[in-house]
């Protein structure tokens, strides 16, 4: 189970400047920086625009074109958005934390087992986990709807946590397994010789050493659950458990042009993404690659 590109790129922090340029190196790197900034500005413009509109008083949003900086700054939209959505934010938080818990409970021991022990069917389990990530959510949600209806799991937290965990569990196992495989096996062999059982080796050695990986997997599980719309829409027809994504959708369809509070809600919905970016940025691309490329 070697990796395609990851293992090599992980060690390869080699930076490279391509080509001997005729332009002086200092000037060249400044030109590159300007071009890089331009790319980022263009790509991120929609997000920036959303923030500007969220800060703009409702009266001026579409009357005058919002410029590069807001004409007037107000937090009225955020107050409105918060009042509208506070119960939905709570629901999103509860569901997402539930998904994180369930995911880590299942994925951490599984990742340890798949990385450390040798079973005959290990490659089949890993293959199955890769394949599950390709199953369209809508196929699952139709079956979940019928089954959950029978089990009285519709319109409740447990059902939504179970459904949302399908985004996170396979991903977390694969990412964590990659992480755990990279831990030196000599430590575990030494522990075994000293008479340390599997359970203790997992709790005392693997868990602490894999903590960064576990945190990353947990953050991603949170983000996947936080961003879920499909299961929230299909498994909560009564609206009793309404996450923020569903709240935003209902707001958009009901008050199609109340842009100020709408964009403020978007900003609120984006907060966890910002936190993940700040906290786990160096793990994101590694995790992305592990989930995608390892197998």
């Amino acid at each position: 189970m070697s990796t395609v590109a990851v293992a090599r790129s992980a060690g390869a922090k080699r930076r490279r400047a391509s080509g001997r340029s005729r332009v002086r190196p200092a000037l060249r790197s400044w030109l590159l920086l300007v071009a890089g900034l331009a790319i980022i500005v263009v790509v991120l413009f929609p997000v920036y625009y959303a923030v500007i509109v969220a800060l703009e008083p409702s009266s001026t949003i579409l009357a005058v074109a919002p410029g590069v900086i807001p004409h007037q700054v107000t937090f009225a939209n955020f107050h409105a958005a918060w009042d509208n959505e506070v119960s939905n934010i709570t629901a999103s938080l509860l569901v997402s934390l539930g998904v994180v818990l369930l995911t880590l409970l299942i994925a951490t021991p599984a990742a340890h087992g798949l990385a450390r022990f040798r079973f005959r069917g290990i490659s089949i389990v890993i293959f199955a986990l890769l394949v599950t990530q390709m199953v369209p959510g809508i196929s699952l949600s139709i079956a979940f709807y019928v089954t959950f209806n029978k089990l009285h799991l519709l319109n409740g937290y447990l059902g939504l946590v179970l459904a949302d965990s399908t985004y996170a569990v396979p991903f977390a196992v694969l990412v964590l397994r990659a992480y755990m495989t990279s831990l030196p096996s000599s430590i575990f062999e030494a522990a075994e010789i000293d008479g340390c059982g599997h359970g203790r080796a997992f709790l005392r050695i693997a868990l602490p050493m894999a903590l960064p990986g576990i945190i990353t997997a947990g953050l991603f599980a949170f983000l996947f659950a936080w961003g879920d719309f499909l299961f929230a829409l299909t498994l909560n027809s009564s609206g009793s458990v309404q996450p923020l994504t569903l709240g935003l959708y209902k707001f958009v369809t009901a008050f199609g042009s109340n842009w100020g509070p709408m964009m403020a809600t978007v900003v609120l919905a984006a907060i966890p993404s910002g936190i993940v970016l700040a906290v786990a940025q160096r793990w994101i691309s590694g995790g992305l690659q592990a989930g995608a490329l390892k197998g």
Partner: protein
């Protein structure tokens, strides 16, 4: 999922020989680590998929929800689904949407990744920032673009009007072609970071020495890219394309938010069509059948994907 349960002694790495019973007990403990995830995959994935297939072969109606009983109906649901022009609209839309989205995601992603594959100040920070669109909830992304594409006062229309390209506002989300165009643009934007980051990792793996050797041999930048870089990143590129294909073909959120499949089912994709059949029209069996068509698409792509991974691993 039998393998994880089989208790046959596999070679335990460098473990000293132990009494048989002890070994068995250790084996069971080892299995206990992996068993939950195996059960999870069976309950949360295998069972629903089998259930979906059986549902699509039954006369499953709203009443079946309560009674839990439905008559076997053979392939009649699939016949109904393929007789319905909306299904064909959804299939055609899904194919066009997926191909165009992938083309631009990959092309732009490769261009940006190549740009960042150079040394300059702040390049790492900027590369991190480019992840933002990928991390946003898709519903939030869709909402932002609803504002940008708004018929009256939307920024896109305002810019086009200022440039004298249009003289009256376009109601982007109210027709098939412009609605699909909007959906595709949002989808490209949301998937761009994924392509950029993975392709960047692939580019980082191209050994510098090979590039330099090509340069010494007098190859210009384009030749180096075509003849050196491209062949070397082909395995990664194939994987990025396959994953992009899988993520894109099952798109749901963006369409529901932007057009809800309308006007008049003109912008339905397979995922949203299945949703509409089940949850709006209460056509459970037909919806399940459409879901399975989408599943078949994904299965075919997955097989190619797994095959390409295996192949590139063998080469590595």
């Amino acid at each position: 999922m039998a393998p994880a349960r089989s208790g046959e002694p596999a070679p335990v790495s460098r473990a000293p020989v132990r009494p048989h019973r002890r070994l068995r007990r250790r084996r069971l403990i080892q299995l206990a680590f992996v068993a939950p995830v195996v059960v999870y995959v069976v309950v949360m994935f295998a069972y629903p998929l089998v259930f979906g297939v059986s549902m699509s072969l039954e006369d499953f109606t709203f009443a079946s929800l309560a009674t839990g009983f439905a008559k076997f109906a053979g392939l009649s649901n699939y016949r109904q689904v393929f007789d319905n022009p909306v299904t064909w609209t959804a299939i055609v839309n899904t194919v066009i949407y997926t191909v165009i989205t992938l083309f631009f995601q990959f092309g732009l992603g490769l261009a940006i990744a190549s740009f960042f594959n150079r040394r300059f100040p702040l390049s790492r920070t900027l590369r991190t920032l480019i992840l933002i669109p990928w991390l946003l909830p898709l519903i939030a992304t869709g909402t932002i673009f609803r504002l940008l594409f708004a018929g009256s006062g939307g920024l896109v229309n305002r810019i086009l009007a200022d440039l004298h390209i249009i003289h009256s506002p376009i109601f982007w989300l109210d027709s098939r072609v412009s609605g699909m165009a909007a959906i595709i643009i949002v989808s490209i934007w949301a998937g761009l970071p994924f392509n950029t980051i993975l392709l960047y990792a692939g580019l980082q793996d191209v050994p510098r020495e090979i590039q330099e050797a090509a340069m010494v041999d007098g190859a210009n930048a384009w030749q180096r890219f075509r003849k050196v870089t491209l062949p070397l990143i082909r395995p990664v590129a194939a994987i990025v394309l396959m994953l992009g294909l899988i993520y894109t073909v099952k798109t749901f959120d963006i369409v529901i938010l932007l057009t809800n499949g309308g006007p008049g089912n003109a912008t339905q994709l397979l995922a949203t069509d299945a949703y509409t059949q089940v949850f709006s029209n209460l056509q459970f069996a037909n919806g399940a059948a459409i879901g399975n068509i989408l599943l078949l698409f994904c299965a075919i792509i997955s097989v190619i994907y797994i095959w390409s991974i295996r192949r590139s691993e063998r080469q590595a």
